[in-house]
Amino acid sequence: MIDVRLLTGPFIPGQFIGPFTNAHPGLGGVCTFVGEVRGEDGVEALELSHYEPLTLPGMQALAQQAVTRFGLMGMLMLHRVGVMRPGEPIVCVSAAASHRRAAFDAVDFAMDHLKSQSWFWKREQRGGEWTWIEPRGQDYADLARWD
């Protein structure tokens, strides 16, 4: 099962992960990563924008690619858009597989691609001022691991 969603409001990862796990009887393991908005360095809010015609289709293609490449039973991929406060989940990726290694690698793969090859633009608010975030060189290096 591939379940990919863009969410416009706060969400609780467990409410998606539980049903996702239960949808795959016979699985060996589920690896999950949840990323949250960090409040460090005085960040007051974070805004993610997307481009409707590309963002969700791109995520669906990425999830399908991960399922095929790592032989998964399923992948859950949730991503917030809009304005978020520190402590709110931004992203949740789960992979269900027969074996642990495949589940781990698939989530790692998906996260690297979500970070630097999916159609999201991020800006942060500090002291009332919004600043756009550029991708870091490290993000491209992470991505290159999968070539």
Binding site: S49, Y51, L54, K115, S116, Q117, F120, W121, E134, P135
Partner: protein
């Protein structure tokens, strides 16, 4: 009837509302008619294009027809 330019990410800050209606035609002509500062930002080689929701290969020659939507996509930063 005009074509529509859509500006994503930091490019959206350069134009009120993040969109602009323009006269159809080759992209070079469209850009030449914009404010120089905006045209310069859009000409950044890292900016990708999507025409009517389809991502274009880099260096694709773009000709806007009436009703087209051309999106300007700066480098992404998700996750």
């Amino acid at each position: 009837m005009s074509a529509r330019l859509v500006f994503l990410g930091r490019l959206g800050d350069l134009v009120s509302g993040g969109e602009l209606a323009v006269a159809p035609g080759p992209l070079a002509d469209v850009l030449a008619a914009l404010e120089p500062q905006l045209a310069l930002a859009l000409a950044d080689e890292r900016v990708r294009h999507a025409l009517n929701g389809q991502l274009l290969a880099r260096e694709t020659a773009i000709e806007l027809a009436a009703g087209d939507e051309l999106a300007f996509l700066p480098p992404v930063s998700g996750g």
